[in-house]
């Protein structure tokens, strides 16, 4: 496919994804660092991650299994926990595809065209990142709550938005709104429009061009965006807490269920459900690794992933 890449040197990024390839810098070259520098940097990277990520994660798992495996299983299989897991998967299952479609459309508009107000649009996409979760939940209450302008209308027609599934989904979509677009935009901007233009010149339709030229070029960033979006969608606490209503077994998502268990002094069970969330996140990452392995031949052929 991408003939522009034929002449380029073997890309650096592959070392991060393809186990079959030789490491990018196994020997000191003009563009590498001395072994001492290299290992110092690696040590800093690992040390920092261990201190700030691995250790808290370890603490979660240690607490989760403190009461034994039986108690762990009981905590994650009890009806309220199962209901929370279902609700979380459902909310993420709606929010992620919605943001996926948006992410592709927005990055297509921003990366492939020049128009006024692009910077503003680009900034607006990031906006949900900068809003306190307390506020992100509150805005939907202000919009759809009983005291809002829309409140009486919604009540008359029996439409429940806040304190029900739609509110939870909306809050989740809001919080994870920028993730996929943010992954795609820089990449698509860098890739430019040359390949699409070539395909169109050769008579391909717009959809066909997107499906066969653009999509293969962005699919790794896309997958990455989906993974991050999904992780955050399942883990969101603050915003969902405001619109959930906390009805046990009904409108409690997994993070809220964790809070409930923790507040019942049921620490082992709370951390068990929390560890399940961590496992779900790890699972999506394993899917990513498997896909990368499956597509290793193609990754080697393209510049990007």
């Amino acid at each position: 496919m991408a003939n522009a890449n034929l002449a380029s040197t073997p890309p650096l990024g592959e070392a991060a994804i393809a186990p079959l390839l030789p490491p990018a810098h196994s020997k000191t070259s003009a563009t590498g660092e001395k072994a001492a520098t290299r290992w110092t940097l690696i040590a800093i990277a690992i040390g920092f991650l261990a201190l700030f990520v691995l250790l808290p994660l370890g603490a979660v798992f240690a607490e989760a299994f403190r009461a034994g495996f039986g108690a762990y299983w009981e905590a994650v299989s009890e009806p309220d926990a199962v209901a929370a897991i279902k609700l979380t998967l459902l909310a993420a299952g709606i929010a992620v595809p919605a943001n996926l479609v948006f992410g592709i459309a927005a990055s297509w508009a921003i990366a492939k065209y020049e128009f006024r107000g692009k910077s503003l649009l680009n900034t607006l996409i990031d906006l949900p990142f900068s809003i306190s979760p307390v506020i992100s939940g509150l805005i939907y209450i202000l919009l759809f709550g009983a005291q809002s302008v829309l409140g009486p209308f919604l009540r008359e027609h029996g439409i429940e938005i806040v304190f029900a599934l739609p509110g939870i989904v909306l809050a989740t979509i809001f919080v994870t709104f920028p993730f996929i677009a943010r992954e795609l935009i820089p990449l698509m901007q860098e890739q430019g429009t040359a390949e699409e233009e070539a395909a169109l010149t050769l008579g391909a339709s717009g959809w066909r061009t997107f499906w066969h030229v653009t999509l293969p070029n962005i699919r790794w960033a896309l997958l990455y965006g989906v993974i991050l979006c999904n992780a955050r969608a399942m883990g969101e606490f603050g915003a969902v807490s405001v619109v959930s209503g906390h009805i046990r077994g009904e409108t409690n998502t997994m993070p809220l269920h964790v809070e409930i268990l923790y507040n019942e002094y049921n620490f082992a069970a709370a951390f068990a459900v929390a560890s399940l969330l961590a496992l779900l996140a790890l699972l999506t990452l394993i899917v990513k690794l498997v896909l990368e392995w499956l597509y290793a031949d193609q990754i080697a052929g393209t510049r990007r992933h």
Partner: protein, 285 residues
């Protein structure tokens, strides 16, 4: 290329052969409008009910100012730490091969996945005076949990993926030929790093830094457990919002929220403009 094509005549969109502009932009704007802008309008409308003077009364209250200062300073500090270490982590992952690299690579995303409350509880358990790390620091007279330092730790945790994940793809895409050229021309490794690699990575680092900063300013769930929440000392702005809500003072709560939103929005816009300017300079230069 197309930028200078139609000099003189003002138009809001440069012509392009690529189809789908209307659909893509139309859908994006509709979705953005419904999901983000409409609810935010409700927020601003609510804050506006205070009136201009009412708004300033709340914002200039010493306690509000103290909370805002704490939230922004702690976020700034945490984002800076993340920018430095995030860059090192991304560099190590992309450029070096070492055992366990994939595992650590996968770990980077965990702060997104772990509910913020769980992160807060886990960090507090670690850094409390009777926790494994807090216990080590306590004899040295360093208190982490229940101090502003604890807030910074929590914010580092939640912001780390932003920097690593924005720098990583750019670093992977970075053309090695430039580095080779620099080395051939006799530049030392450090000089190459400073004059070739860092400038190329700067936009990504800046983006990661800003996203981490923006996210950290508003963070509530993880901070609340580790902060101590003492007014004027360790009370963050989002907690103040919650307090206003508990007083059924929606307007006051939304006012603080709106102010934080404005500051963050200006920061984000500034960064985007810097990037735009850099890209222009790069393409023309």
């Amino acid at each position: 290329m197309t930028l200078a094509a139609s000099a003189g005549r003002w138009r809001w969109k440069e012509p392009s052969v690529i189809p789908g502009f209307g659909l893509a932009l139309g859908f994006s704007l509709t979705y953005l409008g419904l999901i983000v802008l409409l609810p935010l309008a409700a927020l601003l409308l609510n804050a506006a009910s205070l009136g201009w003077s009412g708004f300033w009364d709340i914002m200039l209250e010493p306690r509000t100012l103290a909370a805002l200062r704490l939230s922004f300073l702690a976020a700034l500090f945490a984002a800076s730490v993340n920018a430095v270490f995030g860059l090192i982590i991304a560099w190590a992952f992309v450029r070096y091969d070492f055992p366990g690299r994939r595992l650590f690579d996968a770990l980077v995303d965990l702060p997104f996945a772990l509910p913020t409350a769980v992160a807060g509880i886990a960090l507090t358990a670690l850094y409390a005076p009777n926790g494994p790390i807090g216990g080590l620091l306590a004899p040295l007279g360093i208190k982490v949990a229940y101090t502003p330092l604890g807030i910074v730790i929590a914010l580092i945790f939640i912001g780390l993926p932003f920097v690593v994940r924005t720098v990583q793809p750019v670093l992977e895409d970075l053309d090695k030929e430039l580095e080779e050229a620099a080395a051939t021309l006799g530049a030392s490794r450090f000089r190459t790093l400073r004059s070739v690699i860092l400038p190329a990575l700067m936009p990504a680092i800046l983006t990661g830094f800003t996203l981490a900063l923006a996210r950290a300013v508003g963070e509530y769930g993880s901070v609340i457990f580790i902060a101590g929440n003492i007014p004027y000392v360790s009370e963050i702005a989002p907690l103040l919002i919650t307090i206003r809500l508990e007083e059924f003072n929606y307007a006051g709560a939304t006012a603080i929220g709106a102010a934080m939103l404005m500051i963050s929005f200006s920061l984000l816009l500034l960064i985007h403009l810097i990037q735009l300017w850099q890209r222009r300079r790069f393409t023309h230069g």
